[in-house]
Amino acid sequence: MQDLQSLETEITANLAGAADLDAVENIRIAELGKKGRVSLLMRELGKMTPEEKKEFGPKLNQLKNTLNDAVQSRKDSLETELLNKKLQSESVDITLSAAETDLGSIHPITQVMDEVTEIFTEMGFSVAEGPEIEEDFYNFTALNIPEEHPARQMHDTFYFPEDEEGNRKVLRTHTSPMQIRTMLAGEPPYRIIAPGRTYRNDSDATHTPMFHQVEALVIDKDIHMGHLKWCIEEFCKKFYERDDIKIRFRPSYFPFTEPSAEVDIGCAFEDGEILIGEGDDWLEIMGCGMVNERVLENVNLDPSEYQGFAFGLGLDRAAMLKWGIPDLRDFFAADLRWLKHYGFQALDIPSLSTRTSVVRGSK
């Protein structure tokens, strides 16, 4: 009987030298297969004496197990080698890119409207909308702007052709007609904002014939200018995302409010850019006031019972200030380069939880 030790050494060396899986399989058949050398030795066990069996049996079994493991191990390592080779051959240039589809975007006007809506909704307002082609009554008369009033000249109104009765529709010159429509449509109290397109016949570097405003109206029993001031301050802090913003109220005049005010915001003018919240300069941002008693009477409300405030804010300008957009005219040109630069991602939906906020007193 061959020396088992030398047999193991020989076969192990053969396995290590096997170049591929087929060679390993051939060795396995030659040694461990039915007629393999190890199997033949096993067979010889039958002819042995019990003493011999006792001696060789375990040794042979151990040899068989060892060789089986060696075959598997060699197979594994050859397979790994093979896979590695295959993977190596599959490498690509990962600096190439898949075909890109252009990202879409949201216009700053939509973004600013959504932001404003978010802020006022949180303050308990709802959102009203109305026609852009408006009747004289809603745009002027009911707002205490009679035909001959000098204030009408400040509105460069777009007119439509006269109808049979001599009435002319207008393109609304402001969002204030929504005050009238809101108050005529439902019962007080009212707490609404009305964003939308507005039109004036004006076109130069800083004016476009179409622009956007948001109107706010609060009518209840005990609303006063202190509430108006709070509302505007809160809005400005949240909109410009600064808690240290300076707001200035100064007397002004609008036919539909009395008392009336204009609101300035503290800013700095630096290198052609306007920095909100910095510096000692002021920039006018909106007109506001307590709703004129005549307006309340025009919508059949009793001024001795109900009172409140209204304000109107230019949205295009608010967007320009917030995001540093220099030219108003570009808003409406639909130039892809501009839309890409100033647009917002579809999922950038304004919400109060995602905006920068400075906690009061934290400094």
Binding site: I223, H224, L336
Partner: protein, 796 residues
């Protein structure tokens, strides 16, 4: 309204600095728009003498001057014809900036000769129009001192915005009066004492229509000598940008700006007979001071003499009614014209004048009699002469009113607690007469405040003097009744639609609501009522009947800039009539070019009708409209390609969306090259989902049993919509058939002319048990039979 600080101080006795005056003006509602201090701008400019002026060696029209600026002599090349030895003028050194043109002076070399600084003309310093030569000062002007100080230009010009209710501040006097009330000094009351008349005016005045002209004060002054007005008056007019003309003209301009009192000086020798004020008759005409001829209707207030119309009351004098250098006798008019009529006359005739501006806002009626005395005094001082008595026709209107005011309204409306005593004090400082009635105050307005007629006006007066900055900020209280807040379902839908469109790679644009009429007509009939009477320009004259034309032309502009592949959308209103119902909210989008850039991996495709349909369907699904239950029919409007477009609708009248290729003829008219596809979603017109009870979505019913898929290919007529085959297959077993998708459409070899093969994959999802082969085969056969029967299709 512009004025200078020194002018203001002629009526306001104050120690306040310019800055405090400016802040107070803004705080009381007279918003300071600009303060312009000529001394600041002209600081580097000094008086200098040309010691020597010699011909430039290389230029005929230039001179080389040696200039003494008081500290040194400097060589300056000058082109002015009057740059001669000995001239004393204004010198601008190198490094300073010329105020009128922003030019910064640098040392330079002009045709081989060094030049440092320049001698300035009047125009360069903003002092006048003269540019023929450099400023020529008297020879004794002190060389080396500040030019601005020597010229007494050290007087800041303050420009304020006047709101339409503040007609009282349309004169320097009124501004001083308001500042005094705000505690900034004491008002120096104007001298309005009567000037004794020496004779009876030979010109009489009659008023036919006292509604148009309530009162007319006139005065004849004989033996005047017209000439230039004194320097102080000229300087004030120049500071406002007005051109001094002659004493008599300057006085009327000055009175307007100083006292807010427009008046007119006639050359009395040009008045034939007497003056009469009446309403115009339709067709009458007058050539006014601006040399334009105006034609009246029968509603305008005119002043005539015995022979002709002389002027338009309150608006503008006639061309022949003014005064001349040679005028020796004048007739002074100081009247009160009705604000509304003046406004309408001015608007109808298109005349903007300082007089109209003031009369239409309501001139203080008390200035009729005061004004004529002040103006008479100015004329006598400057032009001499002898005044007549004042002829007073009509009666000044009383615009003062007595209003009842509850002092607590300042707190209730204004949000600031002010004691009654202080309320009274503020009102009295503003010259209101206040009578304390206990719970209320009787407040009588001064003659110059025609704007005040209700209690909130008085609240505003108290607030603005007390200070808007003292209004306390108070959080908005809860609404007295519960109200709905937030977005309406439609508003939410619009927000989702826009953001879904953006998520699909479309860029949102905001374009004009206007389109050129020509473009509007390409998208349906143009209602003439949708064309503006006064468009901002002829190419923005019609309200858009459709969102697409602006998007398509925008695509064209972007193509011109080198962008080939364009995806844009807009959400906004389009208009079919001028009523609220004729305004429709639509989200429309376009894609132009190819679906992506050229790429190494896959070739880009031209955008096609299916891209547009995918946009429409995805957005419809996103806003909660189940497009799969809708009809899709090939009946899109005429601006689409008739064979490559469709309508998604619930019924013939209930359109949800259009999609398709834009008709090539439309693209041609809009001068845009395709391929270009579009979709329109009628967001505002679609039914909103029925309100559900609660937010629960119910339990998910998912099957644990094996789903089975089978493929079929049917040969059908080529015009058979695939949708039809899907419906037919679905009808076999609505519960079991879970999904049907078309995975191949084929025409060509092996398929007869006029037919096509459609291959579909059908997915069966049993809910209660696994299907046996026999059961599956049974369904398969049923599908084949049904397609054959209902769609005429045969299994391929």
């Amino acid at each position: 309204m512009k004025f200078t600080l020194s002018w203001l101080k002629t009526y306001l006795d104050t120690d306040a600095e310019l800055n405090e005056i400016s802040e107070t003006l803004t705080a009381i509602g007279l918003e300071v728009e600009d303060i312009h201090d000529p001394t600041e701008e002209l600081k580097p400019f000094v008086i200098a003498r040309i010691e020597k002026a010699e011909q430039h060696p290389n230029a005929d029209k230039l001179r080389v001057c040696t200039v003494n600026n008081g500290t040194e002599t400097i060589q300056v090349v000058c082109g002015a014809p009057n740059a001669v030895t000995g001239l004393v003028g204004a010198f601008a050194p190198s490094g300073c900036t010329i105020p009128t043109n922003g030019l910064k002076l640098k040392p330079t070399n002009i045709r081989g000769v060094d030049s440092n600084g320049m001698m300035c003309s009047e125009r360069e310093l903003g002092l006048g129009d003269d540019h023929d030569g450099i400023i020529d000062l008297p020879k004794d002007a002190p060389v080396g001192t500040s030019f601005a100080e020597y010229m007494k230009l050290n007087d800041p010009v303050i420009e304020i915005a006047i709101t339409p209710n503040h007609q009282d501040a349309l004169g320097v006097y009124g501004i001083a009066r308001d500042l005094a009330a705000a505690g900034l000094g004491t008002l120096k009351v104007a001298d309005t004492s009567k000037v004794d008349g020496k004779f009876e005016s030979p010109i009489k005045v009659s008023i036919e229509n006292t509604d148009a002209c309530h009162v007319f004060a006139g005065r004849y002054i004989r033996g005047v000598k017209n000439g230039p007005s004194p320097e102080w008056m000229q300087r004030r007019l120049i500071s406002l940008g007005m051109k001094p003309i002659s004493a008599l003209v300057d006085i009327t301009n000055f009175m307007t700006m100083d006292y807010g009192r427009p008046l007119h000086v006639f050359d009395a020798d040009n008045i034939k007979g007497n003056l009469n004020v009446r309403l115009s008759k339709s067709g009458e005409t007058l050539v006014a001071l601006d040399d334009k001829e105006y034609t009246f209707d029968d509603e305008m207030c005119i002043i005539e003499d015995d022979e002709a119309i002389n002027s338009i009351g309150g608006v503008m004098g006639g061309a022949d009614s003014g005064t001349y250098e040679t005028t020796t006798n004048v007739f002074l008019e100081c009247a009160w014209f009705d604000p509304i009529r003046t406004a309408m006359t001015g608007r109808k005739l298109g005349i903007e004048s300082d007089a109209r501006y003031r009369f239409e806002r309501g001139v203080d009626p008390a200035t009729v009699e005061d004004g004529i005395e002040i103006a008479t005094r100015l004329i006598l001082d400057m032009c001499g002469g002898e005044p007549s008595d004042v002829t007073l026709t009509g009666k000044a209107p009383t615009i003062s009113k007595t209003l009842s005011m509850r002092p607590e309204r300042v707190r209730e409306l204004g949000g600031v607690d002010i004691e009654k005593a202080e309320v009274i004090d503020i009102l009295e400082r503003l010259h209101f007469a206040v009578e304390d009635k206990g719970a209320t105050l009787d407040v009588t307005t001064p003659s110059w405040r025609c704007d005040i007629d209700r209690e909130p006006d008085l609240v505003e007066e108290v607030l603005r003097i007390h200070g808007y900055d003292k209004i306390n900020v108070e959080p908005l209280p809860h609404s007295s009744r519960e109200i709905v807040t937030g977005l309406s379902p439609l508003q939410r839908r619009i927000r989702t639609a826009k953001r879904t469109a953006a998520g699909r790679g479309l860029r949102e644009a905001v374009t004009w609501s206007f389109v050129p009429s020509d473009h509007a007509k390409l998208f349906g009939d143009l209602d003439p009522n949708m064309v503006l009477d006064n468009p901002v320009s002829s190419d923005l004259d019609a309200m858009r009947p459709n969102l697409l034309p602006n998007l398509i032309t925008a695509a064209g502009r972007n193509v011109d800039r080198g962008n080939k592949n364009i995806a844009l959308f807009e959400a906004g209103n389009q208009f079919s009539s001028d009523t609220p119902e004729g305004q429709h909210f639509v989200l429309a989008g376009i894609r132009r070019g190819q679906n992506h850039e050229r790429h190494w991996q896959k070739a880009p495709n031209d955008v096609d009708v299916y891209d547009a349909k995918a946009d429409a369907v995805t957005i419809l699904n996103a806003i909660g409209v189940n497009a799969s239950t809708a009809q899709v029919v090939a009946e899109a409007p005429a601006w689409y390609h008739p064979g490559r477009s469709g309508v998604i609708r619930l019924g013939p009248k209930n359109i949800m969306a259009y999609f398709g290729e834009i008709h090539p003829a439309i693209l041609k008219s809009l001068d845009v090259e395709g391929p270009l596809v579009a979709f329109e979603i009628m967001v505002g017109n679609m039914p909103l989902p029925r309100a559900k009870a609660g937010n629960s979505r119910g339990a998910l019913k998912a099957s644990d049993f094996q789903a089975v898929e089978r493929d079929f290919a049917f040969v059908v007529k080529e015009d058979m919509p695939s949708e039809q085959i899907i419906k037919v297959i679905k009808s076999v077993d609505k519960k079991l058939i879970d999904n049907i998708s078309v995975f191949d459409v084929y025409q060509g070899k092996g398929i007869d002319e006029g037919e096509k093969s459609i291959a579909v994959n059908v997915r069966l999802q049993p809910m209660d048990k696994t299907m046996t082969d026999e059961e599956i085969e049974e369904v398969r056969q049923k599908i084949i039979a049904t397609v054959e029967k209902k769609a005429g299709g045969t299994l391929r």
